[in-house]
Point group: C2
Chain length 349, copies 2
């Protein structure tokens, strides 16, 4: 475009052929505004034709691919060290396989157009496809990892690193094992990966669905409201208690005193053994409730395993931690970088 | 289910609780037919609930993943040895990016459901996304590889290894280079990969779009029919000449004598230097036609490069080779295993 904006100063005989031809047709006086107009038309066309990438997705350039491959290699190395095998599943599943598995989030599932065949949807995570995989192939005990892209038809905040297409690196232990053994190994794997990736100081917030349920039961939440209230608690890492309380009372119809009793529990967090001591003390209602007393015994077993594996130092026992999806029934956890700002960097249950 | 079919022989007191309860309600005489009915109902339910995988897709089990990873590692190693860098692009593109790029095959593109946002389609290959990538990021010369899945809404013959979701391993050289240098390197890369993978004896059929066009011009095909006739020639590896001739004459309206003149060319194939000698001889109409004479000079250059790289032995110069997609303009090729049966195992242009 530089040649065009310089045209006024260029002697006619030095102009490119087409400019010279134009100049002869219109005289040099008229040439600059004509060129200006041409410039605008051409630039507008280029803007129109500029190829676009789909919203919420990204290209990986060679240098980004190098980083990605190095990170995945470290993660895979930890997975393999713990005896996991790789599997892979298709990017889409029958719509019925995904339906009803994600609660409120089901609206974020990408459907394929009905093209006279099956009804298909892009996978939302790797967990439900893995459940379909084990049901289809009839596996017994399996420890597997799966690194692949998942899809969420969200309004992503790309400046915060959130996309509509992104990778999940999943590690699962399926089958029958002694209590808390798989949970301990999964947490150990997470600690090893976060150490190897050297992203900075991290902390793993840990809780148990059984404690959340008991807490709500003791506070007086009706069973039918456990899930909506749980999903309100889940927002505590992004919103202050006052806003979460408002949602419980105004949006979800919980009496104020019930919400306040929840508020007394969700402030409890800290070093695992100290927390366990506090919660199993006779003065704590959780210690005698039938669900939570069994759960607290499980937590003790889990902490003993983690301690012997040198993985307990990274754990914070945090009663405010909840997870949105319905399929979590036992231990739940979320890893965050200390210093914050980036949200959770790994999670599971 | 074993417990059910054995019920007749089991003393009532040894039966599981629910069978015992049934037995008391109906008496043991009525129990076996009742259990039989229950068995049928349960099995029918299980058949309904058996989770399904989407048609034309597959799960990769751990042992298949091992083979896949080994094969990809060998392929990537050859790509890197030739100085290629990795890139990756999203699984879907704006529909307009893919539209009009694949001729008749556009009907095989998977569209995503219109969900109030952009119109999106799953990628059909890695070539058009790469063109979009280079246009968007404004690269100069780049040698890149891209290993990823592509999607075709086909009726796939899965017993012949054809799927709706499958991997492509692409290697591309984009930018400005001396004539035939990138073509020679791409073919050398292909020879190295097929040797390293040790799939068995292979052969690379080679042709040039310029020769196909000249051949049709000399035979008397009108320019407007070049593409339909080309796509008929493309079927010669699966159908006999008689069927291809019938398609040209009956379906595509070519006069019989014109089809017969094409028939005289498409039987020509063989060792590159011998074929080149034959086609550049004054007695061959291709030698003096303006398009093909330049093309034959290019082929000579290409063969010299391949010869010096020790890659010419695998090449068969084959005038019957055509490629379906519109975006091929120069050299085209297709690799097949000798002994046949599996169709082409790699192709490009």
């Amino acid at each position: 475009m530089a040649a065009l904006s310089l045209a006024e100063a260029v002697p006619t005989e030095k102009m490119p052929g087409w400019q010279q031809a134009l100049s002869e047709m219109f005289g040099t006086a008229k040439l600059p505004p004509l060129l200006d107009m041409l410039k605008r038309v051409i630039e507008a066309n280029q803007a129109t034709r500029k190829p676009k990438i789909a919203k919420g997705t990204r290209d990986f350039m060679p240098d980004q691919m190098t980083i990605r491959e190095q990170a995945f290699a470290k993660i895979v190395s930890v997975f393999k060290r713990h005896g996991a095998v790789a599997i892979d599943t298709p990017v889409f599943e029958l719509r019925e396989t995904l339906m009803g598995k994600y609660g409120e989030d089901s609206k974020l599932i990408y459907d394929l157009a009905d093209q006279g065949g099956e009804n298909l949807s892009l996978r939302y995570d790797l967990t439900v496809p893995f459940a379909r995989y084990t049901a289809l192939h009839g596996m017994g005990n399996i420890k597997r990892y799966h690194i692949a892209r998942v899809y969420r038809r969200d309004q992503p905040q790309m400046n915060r690193g959130r996309f509509r297409e992104f990778f999940q690196c999943d590690f699962d232990i399926a089958g029958a094992y002694a209590a808390m053994v798989p949970d301990a190994e999964v947490l150990k794997v997470l600690v090893e990966i976060l150490s190897d990736l050297a992203l900075g100081d991290f902390e793993i917030k840990l809780n148990h669905r059984g404690l959340l349920d008991t807490m709500m039961d003791i506070a007086g939440v009706p069973t039918s409201k456990f899930r909506p209230i749980c999903s309100a608690i889940d927002k505590l890492d992004k919103e202050p208690w006052e806003e979460v309380r408002r949602e419980m009372v105004e949006d979800k119809g919980l009496p104020g005193p019930v919400a306040d009793r929840i508020g007394e529990y969700v402030v409890l967090k800290g070093e695992p053994w100290e927390m366990l001591k506090k919660l199993t003390d006779d003065s704590c209602a959780l210690s005698s409730h039938p669900i939570s007393s069994a759960t607290l015994a499980d937590m003790k077993t889990l902490f003993e395993y983690l301690d012997s594996m040198g993985a307990l130092g990274a754990i914070s026992f945090d009663l405010s931690l909840a997870r949105g999806l319905d399929y979590y029934t036992g231990v739940i956890y979320e890893a965050v970088l200390k210093g914050g700002g980036v949200g959770s960097i790994a999670a599971g249950g």
